[in-house]
């Protein structure tokens, strides 16, 4: 006997009142993208739940994929069986053995079909006894069981549901608009993108590329990071901004102490322009207060002056170690630590101002006209689209070798 379906429970989404339908639609859509690799699966919807019918696909592989989809509170394997004692016994045993480290269990039976000869109260000890007889060291614990196995005898068939697996939480990506993520290649910005997506936001990325100061490896890093992020949503567009000219001009014409602040302001201006072009209403950054010179209160204030777009900063109050934990969990850490120069490290002045002011920044910027450079950078920006499922096939350049 094998599990033949996965039950999906929503979290916060269930509270959405009138909009709930749209949220459910989006979740179903997102799940179906995720399950493309399992062509036999089918998603069905009932009141307040979804079921993924496995039709022979591997339960654990499908489960692992579903656990990355935002908007799901928890999931359980379930199996539909005939209404016979034998089948039910086999199913509860399967459910218990699937719960790897479980030692104690509880069975909760429900009987909607009153014609079924065994009453709910008798079903629990009957099925529990079968687990006890067939498993070394298993124990019943009705108060704090490691796993609660639910049995429901309905008119059409009986259903057995096994232990809960945690979902990714949050809201389905695509239900709360779109944001432009400033993706540098470091540890923070991918985590920031992930947390933003968790709130249902769809992400596009913007990356500042400054050859020859930054290499194709640095750009590849960003592509690989976006690919990892796309696992949690759908494909991600990366807008690559040719930034060399702007950076050179800043380096040449702005005072060293302010070059970092002004570079960030230029990035903000360009990002806002790209967002505008794409119909995106906010920017997302990986800023975390106090981490580096650009992330002091004074810096943020000065940098923020050039845009009135909302800036989403999910990491603003997080510690570096918390951020690293998440980046490991979502698979971006190993990519982020590849040691290539990026545009934030090449032009770093010896002593960047940690307490810049808006007045000074404006004063220095007024001595040179950047508008042409910004226009050109925006005009020459090109877009790459990545998604997780095509990551292995996408580049055919090596296919004859591999």
């Amino acid at each position: 006997m094998k599990f033949d379906q996965i039950m999906v429970r929503y979290g916060e989404m269930a509270l959405k009142g009138k909009n709930r339908k749209a949220f459910e639609q989006r979740l179903k859509h997102n799940l179906s993208i995720k399950l493309k690799a399992f062509p036999n699966t089918k998603i069905t919807k009932t009141r307040g739940r979804m079921y993924i019918l496995l039709n022979g696909e591997d339960p654990h592989e499908v489960m692992a994929e579903c656990q990355e989809v935002f908007g799901i509170h928890s999931l359980s394997f379930a199996v539909k069986v005939e209404k016979t004692e034998e089948q039910l016994k086999e199913a509860v045993l399967l459910a218990f053995h699937d719960a790897k480290d479980a030692r104690t269990f509880k069975i909760s039976s429900k009987r909607t079909d009153k014609d079924f000869p065994i009453q709910s109260a008798d079903l629990n000890p009957l099925l529990g006894g079968h687990i006890l007889r067939n498993t070394d060291g298993a124990k019943v614990d009705v108060h704090h069981p490691d796993v609660e196995i639910k049995v429901e005898v309905r008119h059409d068939a009986a259903y057995v549901t096994a232990q809960d697996y945690p979902g990714a939480g949050g809201l389905p990506v695509g239900t709360t608009g779109k944001s432009l993520l400033m993706l540098s290649g470091g540890i923070d910005s991918p985590v920031s993108g992930y947390l933003t997506m968790k709130r249902g936001v769809e992400i596009e990325a913007i990356h500042f590329h400054s050859p020859p100061y930054t290499s194709d490896r640095a750009k590849q890093k960003v592509i690989d990071l976006a690919k990892e992020l796309s696992r949690f949503g759908k494909s991600i567009k990366i807008h690559v901004v040719p930034f060399t000219a702007v950076q050179q001009k800043i380096h040449r014409e702005m005072p060293a102490g302010y070059s970092m602040t002004i570079m960030r302001r230029m990035m903000m201006r360009i990002s806002e322009r790209i967002a505008q072009k794409q119909g995106i209403l906010s920017l997302t950054t990986g800023e975390s207060l106090g981490q580096v010179a650009s992330q002091t209160m004074e810096s943020m204030n000065t940098i923020n002056e050039v845009t009135n777009y909302p800036i989403i900063r999910p990491l603003v109050s997080m510690d570096k170690l918390e951020i690293i934990d998440i980046s490991r969990k979502i698979g971006t850490y190993d990519i982020s630590i590849r040691p290539y120069e990026d545009c934030c490290t090449v032009f770093v002045p010896k002593a960047p101002k940690t307490k810049p002011t808006r007045e000074n920044a404006n004063y220095y910027e007024s001595s040179a006209d950047f508008s042409e450079d910004i226009n050109r950078a925006v005009a020459e920006t090109y877009t790459i689209e990545v998604n997780a499922s095509n990551s292995d096939q996408e580049s055919n350049e090596f296919s004859d070798l591999l």
């Binding site: 592989e61 790897k100 480290d101 194709d216 292995d392 090596f398 070798l401 591999l402």
Partner: protein
């Protein structure tokens, strides 16, 4: 020529050799070099890793390319033992492991580790219960092979893995060199922490392979130096070999999907024909891996049989190539409690997906002929 010694090594596929040559010629930059040429080599390496991971159902960072089975096994066993000896110094393995596992454990014994060698039954199968009985507070590692190289016995690796999950303090290492491409063993979901595979057993090149190491398992490196292979294996990467290995892996797994049933039926023919020969007794279990049959011709010196078949351009082996230079008794067969007349006269035929029924029948005729020819001097 009829080549029936595929468990010793296999004929590299032409496509694999082609890849090797192309990469050696066109991507010879050091993947660690900063320049663009180096970065292309690095990207090719990364692609190989991604493809290997995809084929094996693991994550790319869990694939460590090695020089083959012996290195993989040593890296796993010594790597865990040295890294985690503060947790305990007790290790468990079976009595029928490959020499690269067995000797690694023996070496650790000489350094103060304690090893329990688990008995096997008549067919060479390890009883998972015996492993559980051997587990102690200070056990840190269990190594069990997926398919025995001499007998073809398939071990209940998934069952063992599931049991060992309940012991979070110890690691489970599987030597999957003989099983790869022949039996289905999902590395993920089988409770396996470390899994050794090798290139030259699947029509790749010698000196290639990988150790799959699950995330969160840390190893003490055998080779220190650069930061290649997540700092577990220093040294400039063997890019041509690696690419060739990953290509062989893909081709082999594709072939497995298409032709496993044919291979099984080939083995069945071989089995049936061998069992018709009176002088001969089959040692492998009937339901073993689809490519290995081990049998004994009591009274006949195996080496002489091999040489006579060799005269006819047919190549089979005694026990395993890695232990065949040691005299006489097969340790594996001895562990199965077979009597001396059988442990000293064992021969192994090992198939690949490229063998044909014609070859099998020709081999059988030749073997009969050899037995008859040698009878006056040996058969008693």
């Amino acid at each position: 020529m009829i080549y029936l010694d595929n468990s010793a090594t296999t004929h590299p596929l032409p496509e694999v050799l082609e890849s090797y040559q192309k990469v050696a010629d066109q991507y010879y930059a050091n993947p660690s070099s900063v320049h663009r040429f180096g970065s292309e080599a690095e990207r090719l390496l990364q692609h190989s890793r991604n493809q290997a991971a995809h084929l094996l159902g693991v994550d790319p960072q869990e694939v460590i390319f090695t020089s083959g089975g012996t290195e993989g096994n040593n890296m796993a066993i010594k790597g865990i033992a040295f890294m985690h000896q503060d947790r305990g110094k007790h290790l468990i393995t079976s009595k029928i492991e490959h020499p690269s596992v067995m000797e690694a454990y023996r070496a650790l014994e000489s350094l103060g580790f304690e090893v329990s060698y688990i008995d096997v039954d008549r067919n060479g199968i390890v009883d998972p219960k015996k492993i559980v009985e051997a587990i102690r507070e200070d056990t840190i590692l269990v190594s069990i092979m997926s398919v025995n190289n001499e007998l073809g016995t398939v071990q209940p690796v998934q069952e063992i893995g599931n049991i060992l999950r309940k012991y979070p303090k110890l690691f489970f290492h599987v030597d999957h060199v003989q099983g790869l491409g022949k039996i289905n063993l999902p590395i993920k979901g089988s409770g396996i922490d470390l899994c050794t595979i090798s290139g030259h057993k699947i029509h790749g090149l010698k000196g290639t392979g990988a150790l799959i190491v699950q995330k969160n398992v840390s190893l003490f490196p055998l080779l220190h130096g650069g930061s290649q292979e997540i700092e577990v294996r220093a040294g400039t990467e063997n890019l041509p070999g690696t690419v060739a290995f990953v290509k062989a892996l893909r081709l082999n797994l594709e072939t497995q999907q298409q032709s496993l049933e044919e291979l099984k039926s080939l083995r069945k023919t071989l089995w049936n024909e061998l069992s018709k020969i009176d002088e001969l007794v089959i040692n492998s279990p009937e339901d073993s891996a689809p490519h290995i049959i081990n049998f004994s011709i009591p009274g006949y010196k195996p080496e002489v049989v091999i040489h006579d078949l060799g005269e006819k351009d047919i190549f089979i082996s005694t026990k395993s190539a890695c232990s065949s230079k040691q005299p006489d008794v097969s340790a594996v067969l001895k562990a199965c409690n077979l009597d001396r007349s059988r442990t000293t006269s064992a021969l192994r035929v090992s198939l690949s997906y490229h063998n044909t029924e014609d070859e099998i029948l020709t081999f059988i005729d030749a073997l009969k002929d050899t037995i008859k020819k040698l009878q006056p001097t040996m058969g008693r």
